[in-house]
C-alpha cells in the first residue's frame, strides 16, 4: 500500500465533522482535519483490547463445557441444544476426542470479568459523551437522504462490488456503517452485557426478571454465545471494510485522528491552525 491510499480531498469537501469553522482557513493543498475526536479514538482502542481479551477468554471458558442448552439447567446428563465439535478441557464432557485440553478456566474467568468491567465503563463514557458532542446525531444517525430505498440499495450495491469508497466517505459514515455501528452499540453490546449478568447466580437473586425474561440461566448462556458470534462477525466485516477503504489511511485516522492528502504540509503549523 503506497501513498496513493490516502484519501484525496477536493477543496469543497465538507470539513464539517469536527472543525466546520476551519474549512475556509485551510489551504487547498494542506488538507489536515480531525476525523475522530480523542475520546472516540481512546475509547475505540481500549474497547479493541478488551474485545480481544473477552474473545480469547470466552473461548477458553466455552472449552470447559462446549455444550449449549435451553432453559434453566443443562449438564452432561441432559440433552443439549447443540454441542460444538471441539475437544474439552474437562474429562466429564464426552467430545469424541481422545484427549482433554489443559484447564485455562481460572485466569480466563478473572480476565473475562476484568475486561468486561473496563469495556462497559469505557463504553458508557463513549455513549454518554456522544449525546453531548452530537456524535450520535451528526455522525451515526442515518441522514434523511440515506433513508430512501434507492440510496440504501445503492449503498449495498457499492459494498457488494467492494468499491473503494468515494472521497467524502473519508469524512463521514455511509448509511450501512451508521446502521451497523448503531446496532452494535445499542443492541449487541447491551444484549451481551445483559445475558452475561443473567448467568450470575448472585445478580439474578436481586434481579430475577433479568433471567426469567430470557428463558433461564442456560438460555442466557446460549444467547450470550450467539451475540458474541454476531460481534465477531461485525469485527471481521469491520476489518475487511477498512482494508477495502485503505488500511493505512483509516488506521491513521483512528490513531492520530487526522485524514490527510499526500501533498499536505504537515507539521505543527497545520495542526495548530486546525485547533483554533
Amino acid at each position: 500500500m503506497g501513498e496513493s491510499e490516502f484519501v484525496e480531498l477536493p477543496p469543497e469537501a465538507p470539513l464539517a465533522v469536527s472543525v466546520p469553522s476551519s474549512a475556509s482557513a485551510v489551504p487547498e493543498t494542506a488538507v489536515v482535519a480531525l476525523r475522530h475526536s480523542a475520546l472516540v479514538r481512546v475509547t475505540h482502542w481500549i474497547a479493541t483490547l478488551c474485545f480481544f481479551a473477552l474473545l480469547v477468554t470466552g473461548i477458553e471458558i466455552v472449552i470447559s463445557h462446549p455444550r449449549f442448552y435451553w432453559g434453566e439447567t443443562g449438564n452432561i446428563l441432559t440433552t443439549p441444544l447443540f454441542q460444538l465439535p471441539i475437544p474439552s478441557s474437562r474429562a466429564l464432557v464426552k467430545t469424541g476426542y481422545g484427549y482433554v485440553l489443559p484447564d485455562q478456566n481460572g485466569w480466563s474467568r478473572y480476565l473475562h470479568f476484568q475486561a468486561a468491567w473496563i469495556v462497559v465503563l469505557t463504553g458508557l463514557l463513549y455513549v454518554i459523551s456522544g449525546f453531548f458532542t452530537g456524535h450520535w446525531r451528526k455522525d451515526l444517525l442515518p441522514r434523511k437522504a440515506d433513508l430512501s430505498w434507492r440510496a440504501f440499495s445503492a449503498a449495498i450495491a457499492s459494498h457488494v462490488r467492494f468499491a473503494r469508497p468515494s472521497t467524502d466517505e473519508a469524512w463521514s459514515y455511509n448509511v450501512l456503517q451508521r446502521l451497523s455501528y448503531l446496532i452494535v452499540v445499542f443492541i449487541l453490546f447491551p444484549l451481551v452485557i445483559w445475558t452475561g449478568l443473567a448467568m450470575s447466580l448472585s445478580f439474578v437473586s436481586a434481579f430475577p426478571a433479568s433471567v426469567t425474561l430470557l428463558g433461564g440461566e442456560q438460555s442466557a448462556r446460549t444467547i450470550h454465545f450467539f451475540v458474541s458470534i454476531a460481534l465477531v462477525l461485525f469485527l471481521v466485516v469491520h476489518v475487511v471494510m477498512i482494508c477495502v477503504a485503505g488500511f493505512r489511511s483509516r488506521m491513521r485516522a483512528m490513531i492520530t485522528g487526522r485524514v490527510t492528502t499526500e501533498n499536505m504540509t504537515a507539521g505543527p503549523a497545520a495542526a495548530q491552525k486546525e485547533r483554533t
Partner: protein
Amino acid sequence: MKDISRRKLILGGLAATAGVAGLCVAANLAEKYGLVPPDHGGIYGLGETLTYASQRLLTRHSLAREFPRGQISKRPVENELAPPPEAFKRLQAGGFADWRLSVDGMVDHPASFSLDQLRSYPSRSQITILACEEGWSYIAEWIGVPLSHVLESVGIQPQARYVVYFSIEPDWWESIDMADALHPQTFLAYGMNGGELSIANGGPLRLRVPRQLGYKSVKFVTHITVTDSLKKFGKGLGSAAPEGGYSWYAGI
C-alpha cells in the same frame, strides 16, 4: 502554544492529584464497608474488587431463586471426586455416627456437633440451582440447617467478618463473608431431594451457598472457623480457590 501547554500541564496535574486522592478515599471507604475481596491483589484485582463491591451493594440480602418441585433435575450431576481419605472411609464404615463438625474461632462457645445434633435443629429446605463455573447446572432440593442457626448457637463475636470452612479432604477449604454466612439460604445440608445427601453430592455434610458457584459449596465439611481476617489462612488469598487460580468471590 507555550501558555496552552503550561495551562494544560497544571490542569492535568490537578486532575491527576484529584484522581489519586479520589481513588485513595474510595479504597478506604471500600475497605471500611467490607467491599474489598481477599484476592484483590495482582493484575485482576480491579475487576474482582468492582465485582465484589457492586455485588455487596446490590445483593446483600437478596434471595437465590427457588423453583417448584417439578423443575428438580431428574438426576443431580455427580462430579469427579478424589479418592476419599482414610479418615473418611473409617467414618463411612461407622455410618457417619462419629462425624463431627467443629466450630471455633471468634465465637463465645466453641463446639462440636454430630450429624444427629444438626438434624435435631429445625430443618429447612430450598429448591435452587447449583451452577458450575464450567457452564453446566442442575436444580435440586437441599435439606439442612441454616448455617446462621449453628453460628448463633455458639455466639458470634462482633468483630467476626468471615467464616472459613474445611472439608475432610486435605487442601479443600473455602470462606464466605458474614453477608453470605448469615444469609437464610446458606445451609449445612445433609439431605437432597427428600433423601439423604449422597456421598457423590457431598454427604454426609455439605455447606450449600446457593448464590455462588458450585465450588463454594464445599463437600464433606468437618470444621468451621469464624475470623476477622483471612490473612492467616493458607496463602492469605481467602480460600483454596484463588490459590488454584479461581476467584474467591464466585457470585458470577
